[in-house]
């Protein structure tokens, strides 16, 4: 009987529906497993935008060592990355490039705004060449305040992001 229902015209629809049912059935255990995998292998893009990169560099130094929390050192190829840490001031010249980098990253991707400049413009709130925060450019997940934030603050921000990912729906990106 099912054989009669499936015609070449509606086969796609049928398979899609079947996928939805399957996903719903195993969403909870599978979603947990997928999120668990994402939490412990966050790969940040190697993009420095301003002076907060000094403390970002210090965070991966032996004393602070973010790798023990599952955040791997900044990586060159953005096609393999899922985290972008905006390290400070975004100028009008940098903003289009930042968006370009973000658009090329594969889903799922997360954004951490590091430093006062990336959050509101910080000390440069009245500069002619600085954006007042990156909210208009990227959807930010976690804000890390400070000028510059200490490496501990950055690590805490990353751990907050991990908490957030844990509660996210994994299915959206599967």
């Amino acid at each position: 009987m099912i054989k009669d229902l499936i015609t070449p015209q509606n086969a796609n629809v049928f398979v899609g529906k079947l996928g939805d049912i399957l996903e719903k059935a195993i969403d909870k255990p599978l979603g947990y497993a997928i999120n668990w995998g994402r939490i412990w292998s966050l790969w940040p893009v190697h993009i420095e935008t301003a002076c907060c990169s000094v403390e970002f560099g210090a965070a991966s130094s032996p004393r602070y060592d973010v790798e023990r929390f599952g955040i791997i050192e900044a990586f060159g190829s953005l096609r393999q990355c899922d985290l972008i840490v905006v390290q400070g001031t975004i100028t009008r010249k940098m903003a289009p490039r930042l968006r370009l980098v973000y658009d090329q990253m594969p889903e799922p991707k997360y954004v951490i705004a590091m430093g006062a400049c990336a959050i509101t413009g910080g000390l440069y709130f009245d500069s002619y060449n600085v954006l007042p925060g990156i909210d208009g450019v990227l959807p930010v997940d976690v804000y890390v305040p400070g000028c510059p934030p200490r490496p501990e603050t950055l690590i805490q921000g990353c751990m907050l992001l991990q908490e957030k990912i844990k509660r996210m729906k994994a299915r959206k990106y599967v």
Binding site: V45, H46, I47, E48, T49, A50, C51, S53, V54, E55, G57, A58, S60, S61, P62, R63, A74, G76, L78, T89, T91, K93, M94, R97, V101, L123, Y124, D126, S127, Y128, N129, V130, C147, P148, R150
Partner: protein, 378 residues
């Protein structure tokens, strides 16, 4: 050069063979800037640096803030060398306002400035390790610089952005027992960086990647107006701490490190030698420093400059001579502040050095110029 090297390899004509490549701003080998290179095969034909990705208009904003509120702003270009980048501005404001600095404050400044130079150079060395793909070279300096950051934190209360120098002295006196801790840490630090020779500077891989690449001759170093370690690696004996001593450098014994080769290897070695010299200077300063006394002359709130005055002060920073040109009128805000920074002055050497170089050598030549993009863009 490349035209002769590859006569028959490509089927196209020479003009069609040349490819333009954007390196940066998202690239592990570029930092916060873009370098547009034209390559013919592996060889760089032309190079055009494109800075300005961190241009934040510090000089314009300085015209709207008074002499004291400018302090946290003008240290932001190089936060890990913040004492040195602030130094010429503070000296200039002192000359404009006519302030005499207490003796002890001068020594505290010298100690803070030398510690900062080491912190900057260690970070620079760590990133040089990333550029060369040398993991240990990142981990060792990045870990060891935390020792000195601890010292600066004790002294000023902040890890990197100290805002410690103010016109009239320094913000706070040294904490209790600082001299002993400082001496111990600096001695350990010096012992530690001496070990770097075996791992980095005698390392055949590092030598192969940096020796005889990007050679800058003595004449060209002078003609291009380079400064700091780039200049000293090309055989010019010029260090402002010795040639134009500011504060108490004339009472200390400063030795200048000069190398003749002018290649990337020499440019990477001179800052390392300078760090040992900094340790010497810190030890001398700790010894000669007056044990007690005021470290700060209190200023009138909102001090005003003279009617019309121009000051050009310069100091030796981690990246070379750093000048500050201040024009004052009779207002609490300066009329014009211009920072003449070492990074910006050394940038002009980049297109010159990369011409005819292999593309693979670009990161090592670029970072050996002791270049910090945030400072160059201001």
């Amino acid at each position: 050069m490349s035209k002769e090297l590859l006569p028959g390899l490509a089927l196209q004509k020479v003009d069609e063979r040349i490819m333009t490549l954007n390196v940066g701003p998202q690239h592990p080998g570029s930092g916060h800037m873009r370098i547009i290179v034209q390559i013919d095969g592996d060889f760089i034909v032309a190079c055009d640096p494109d800075p300005g990705y961190v241009h934040r208009g510090e000089e314009k904003m300085a015209e709207y803030r008074n002499y004291i509120t400018n302090i946290p702003h003008l240290e932001r270009p190089v936060i890990h060398d913040s004492c040195n980048v602030l130094y010429p501005y503070v000296l200039g404001v002192e000359e404009i306002l006519g302030i005499e600095v207490p003796e002890r404050a001068k020594y505290v400044r010298v100690i803070a400035s030398e510690l900062n130079r080491c912190i900057y150079t260690m970070y620079w060395l760590a990133i040089y390790g990333i550029f060369l793909g040398h993991s240990t070279m990142f981990m060792w300096p990045a870990g060891d610089r935390e020792l000195l950051i601890d010292l600066m934190e004790k002294m000023t209360g902040a890890r990197v952005t100290h805002a410690h120098f103010v016109p009239g002295g320094v913000r706070n006196d040294l904490p209790a027992n600082f001299e002993d801790v400082c001496l111990r840490q600096v001695n350990y630090f010096e012992k530690r960086i001496k070990e770097y020779a075996a791992v980095f500077y005698d390392n055949p891989i590092l030598i192969a990647r940096t020796k005889d690449t990007g050679v800058l001759s003595r004449q060209d170093a002078i003609r291009l107006g380079t400064t700091g370690s780039v200049l000293r690696a090309s055989g010019v004996d010029y260090d402002l701490r010795k040639k134009e001593p500011y504060d108490v450098y004339d009472e200390l014994d400063v030795h200048t490190n000069v190398m003749k080769e002018g290649d990337s290897y020499a440019r990477s070695k001179v800052p390392w030698l300078d760090m040992m010299e900094s340790c010497n200077i810190i030890r001398q300063a700790l010894q000669k420093m007056p044990k007690s006394g005021s470290v700060r002359v209190k200023l009138k709130p909102n001090p005003k400059g003279k009617v019309f005055d121009t000051v050009y002060k310069r100091v030796e920073s981690g990246r070379g001579s750093l000048g500050c040109y201040i024009v004052s009128d009779a207002k609490p805000e300066p009329y014009r502040v211009k920072l003449s920074v070492g990074s910006f002055r050394n940038l002009i050497a980049l297109p010159y050095l990369l011409k005819g170089e292999k593309l693979g050598n670009m990161p090592s030549v670029y970072w050996s110029l002791n270049y910090w993009p945030v400072e160059a863009d201001r």
